[in-house]
């Protein structure tokens, strides 16, 4: 994928086939796991037992899911679109905040000389060693300390979960954006600064438009981080998201499993869409994101 070295010139065809087959063999559980989940969502029975007789194609699971009838019997109904909307709000909120803070911090770390710069970068790496579960305990304490009146709690919990979850992604977003800022020639910036523009203005008007792929990448990663999260959502958010809905439905007595499989497949969609649309981007960013 990268523009760099590929061992094309003198490699034998046989080796290549051997490598592909080996890689494929190790990938079997992965392909099987994802494939069976998606297949089950279109079947009357779960097909995870690999029995072709159980595969009875139907779209009923999807209809039931979108109608919010999460159990085939009994009157259990949820507004599934509401749950999707909640998930979306969290994901978009995290994405926005991560992009904003990440592109500011990344710029400072890439371009500015300030005392403690090295220490700050070391700190960003060390934050990775902070145990998430311990932080959640402390953060929940803060959450309770600032709990507003009853009417405001739902709104507060959305705000809180977005800011708290976005904070976790700051180190990633900063390193990623730093990689993109590092690639812009200094001359561009010098020209603007010599003309008397302030640093902030230069960043916003000139530099930021030049790192659009980077911004897109951080937005995408931020979105997925918010979209996929379960721990922060189940701990802080009053409302349900797709994650907590699946959590509470998988071994509930009334659950109709192929329907839960449909919910899971639906929940997986953004990941798949991003993979189809932005393959190149995902891989290049993943690569720049981890370079010092």
């Amino acid at each position: 994928m990268s523009a760099g070295l590929r061992d094309i010139e003198l490699r034998s065809r046989k080796t290549e086939i051997l490598m592909v087959v080996t890689a494929l063999m190790f990938s079997i559980p992965l392909i099987l796991g994802y494939g069976l989940l998606i297949l089950s969502s279109f079947s009357k029975e779960m097909v995870t037992n690999l029995n072709p007789k159980d595969f009875i194609p139907t779209l009923r699971n999807w209809f039931l899911f979108f109608e919010g009838r999460t159990a085939v019997f009994g009157g259990i109904r949820v507004n599934i679109w509401h749950i999707v909307l909640n998930t979306l709000i969290v994901a978009l909120g995290v994405s926005f905040l991560v992009t904003l803070v990440g592109s500011m911090t990344g710029y400072a770390v890439s371009r500015l000389r300030f005392s403690g710069r090295k220490k700050f970068m070391a700190l960003l790496m060390l934050l990775h060693a902070f145990p998430g579960s311990v932080m959640v305990v402390g953060i929940y304490f803060l959450y309770l300390m600032f709990l507003p009146s009853y009417q405001m709690v739902r709104l507060y919990s959305f705000f809180f979960v977005i800011v708290a979850r976005a904070s976790l992604e700051i180190p990633m977003a900063t390193w990623l954006m730093k990689g993109f800022f590092d690639m812009i020639p200094w001359e561009v910036e010098w020209a603007a600064l010599v003309d008397g523009a302030s640093r902030f203005k230069v960043w916003r008007r000139i530099i930021l438009p030049m790192v659009k792929p980077g911004v897109a990448a951080v937005m995408l990663f931020g979105f997925l981080a918010g979209w996929m999260d379960i721990i922060y959502v189940r701990t802080f958010l009053v409302d349900q998201t797709l994650a907590t809905w699946i959590e509470s439905n998988i071994n509930a007595e009334y659950s109709y499993l192929p329907l839960v499989a449909a919910a899971g497949t639906f929940y997986l969609l953004p990941t798949i869409i991003f993979f189809l649309l932005a393959q190149r981007l995902i891989f290049t960013i993943s690569a720049t994101g981890v370079k010092g």
Partner: protein, 329 residues
Amino acid sequence: MTREVLGVAKTNLFSKIKDFIRSDAFIFLFPAIILIIVFFFIPIVVSVYMSFTPLKNWNIARYIHEFVGFENYWRFFYMVTHDPTVRPIFITTIVFILVTLAINVLGGLGLAIATFFMGEREAGSTQLLWLLPRMTPIAVYSMIWYYFFHGSAIGTLNSILMSLGIIHKPIDWGQSIIPWGPWLIIIFVNGLVGVSYGMIVFTSAISNIPKELVIAARVDGASNWSITKNILIPLLKWHIVYVTTWQMLSLLTTYDHIFLLVEWGLVNRYYGTTWALYIYNMAFTAAEKDLGLAAAAGVILVIVGAILGLLALKILGFDKMVKEPRGDI
């Protein structure tokens, strides 16, 4: 004289901070600094405080002004050494970290090298496939492996083994084969997530290796194996150390991918729980939420993580890694 030296140091620090606030960098760093303080540092301080109180069930108003000194810590040490429900968690954490780490590093290295010998398209698809676990919503990812390892005949692994005639009735992998059943499952599930990290780092490192080296070796008739052994691996040494230390820290603190597997009863509660997850469950899902104990266990984990983290930065030579920005005005 010491006092004078201290005085100088103090004004230095003070003026440093003042300089920093006046500098351009301050505007750009302000949001990040606030968020890091509020959501990383204060929670840790709060946890330290909580570990000295008898806080239970989040009843803050009642317990927060009581102090019990180090009692929670003694209780925790006592439980680790004596309680048969807590001790497994430590053995599990150690086994989990060591085995998963080996899988992550070797698997990542294997994938990076294997894709190096492939054509561009095959390489791209393989890499994307292995990135999938990291990008999948955690609930869906847990669900996939829940069905894969399920203890009844609906489980994929059981039905494969049964149709091959290796076993005759379904095995409850996570609950009945203690301890290796649950260990195998949590290691497998986290191993797949972690492999992609090593793969990405190694792939981008390989793509920076001068092309001439490999071509020259090929012309000399070197085999794939000798190219791997004599060129790729030696040039990846630093990256291997980097991935190993970084992954180790990740594994020490990870808990979200195992959380649902324990909650859904796929794996044994004691042999499927790691230290980090134990803290979360003690604070949020246990019947009696013993927060003093959870916080004490957490503080010790923070200390272990910080020591390992600092050690990692030392080993990796972080100072040399960071370059000063060029030509700043």
